[in-house]
Symmetry: C2
Subunit: 274 residues, 2 copies
């Protein structure tokens, strides 16, 4: 038994008591590890960064997915950027309106490893509504025009392969890829430990989209817990959100009230994302 740590920005660390390393490989893009932990179920890390634990992955995936899916009144065509573990796809498919999902993940090995080790996360990867494209999302999105009702940017932090996902040029591509009335969500890092990333992300989004809203969720195994998400649209304002679209879904984090609450920001987060 040993402890596995993610050391974040040389300041803070999060650790997991593990009993076994179940998988280790160096893919063409990153190092992929799976550990069995004592208190958090299985743990997936990419280049040593915590991506998924079975205990708390529901928080991140529900937050990234259900906010945009409740803002769009009839989301049919969906794009997931990154998200190779499959958790985002699983949550998207809880909405009956969905007709097709494209998953654009740069590293096919992540998806294959998750199908083997995280069956409850990758459970819907082979659903006939899902098409997996294992390619660079930045290049792919640049070819799309008015294709999607909802896009979710489910990337890792802005080092390594995910760096370009936080650039304004990519936000412009995303805007072109959305159909009229389309909605975008993106994970936007820790307001406490990466305030300059949060601030730059929202600054860039506001230059590109008419309506940009910050919301938070507490992802317990991400550094600092409190995590920022961005909801953006050219033509849908937050007032159009329909939290009642959550009714009947088997969610464990979001309910109509807690979805609304996620947009009522702590003062220091509001100041950072203004």
């Amino acid at each position: 038994m040993t402890w596995v740590y993610e050391h974040y920005r040389d300041a803070t660390a999060i650790g997991f008591h593990t009993t076994q390393r179940l998988h280790h490989e160096v893919s063409p893009f990153q190092t992929i590890d799976v550990h069995q932990t004592i208190g958090n179920g299985k743990l997936l890390t990419l280049d040593g960064m915590v991506m998924v634990t079975e205990l708390d992955e529901f928080v991140y995936h529900e937050a990234l997915v259900h906010a945009p899916m409740c803002l769009h009144p009839d989301p049919k065509r969906i794009l997931v950027v990154g998200g190779g573990d499959g958790g985002t796809v699983r949550e998207v498919l809880r909405h009956d309106s969905v007709e097709s999902i494209e998953l654009c993940e740069i590293d096919e090995r992540v998806t294959l490893v998750c199908e083997e080790h995280f069956p409850t996360v990758a459970s819907e990867i082979r659903n006939p509504k899902v098409r997996c494209r294992f390619e660079d999302a930045i290049a792919f999105v640049a070819t799309c025009e008015s294709e999607y009702d909802v896009i979710m940017v489910d990337g890792s932090e802005p080092v390594g392969p995910a760096e370009g996902l936080f650039e304004r040029a990519f936000f412009e591509s995303l805007k072109r890829a959305l159909r009229p009335g389309g909605v975008l969500s993106a994970q936007a890092e820790s307001p406490l430990y990466a305030p300059e990333v949060v601030s730059k992300t929202f600054g860039g989004m506001r230059e590109v989209f008419q309506h940009v809203h910050a919301y938070t969720a507490t992802c317990p195994t991400y550094p600092g817990g409190l995590w920022t998400f961005c909801l953006a649209s050219e033509d849908r304002a937050l007032e159009q959100m329909r939290p009642q679209a959550l009714a009947g879904l088997p969610t464990r984090y979001f309910n109509p009230q807690s979805l609304r609450a996620s947009f009522m920001l702590p003062t220091f987060v509001a100041e950072l994302t203004r």
Copy 2:
């Protein structure tokens, strides 16, 4: 330079990159350490458990204090149980109605160490409205009858000296110590990593008080981040909350909206605290 970790319930850990240990002592009650960290300012641990970092202590202290202070319409006489670092007292004194605060902390050494190393946290410990009692709070509260408008239970987790603070017998004492219309708040641990403590605390509180409400705040340096708090009263319901009492206060976490949002619980926390 070295990393200091709190290992929590043998499952998860939180770590801090430190440059120097500024203080170490074994008091009659516990081991007290102060470290200089790289990303979190100074760090106070008691028996190795993270109590305060300068970076994020505002979250915990604002959450514990301003919820009950906004529920009571005119809080004059205040009791703080534990809270030897002084952060709770500092937040209480932001409310002009306050006439007196008793701080009942078992370990005087905690307060003296914080006055030396955490001047921005312990800043109001010598305020003339504050009286420090360095004694066992459980014995002290048992002697009080109809004394306080607001009581805050600012204890560490239920191991060591703070264990009795989570027992039903203590909740009965707290109820007797409150004046009519009085309000109580208490930190109630991690819903993810200590669900049985959360559940037992709320069960006990509901047996003793008429109105019991759970709320959460994300305390980034506590394990899992998401933290549960309990607000209890014999005769004040949540509908009587006056979030506008925060207006003009120099808070960084709570504002009228985010105070309301803290009671709109994620589904899994609502189920645990029901």
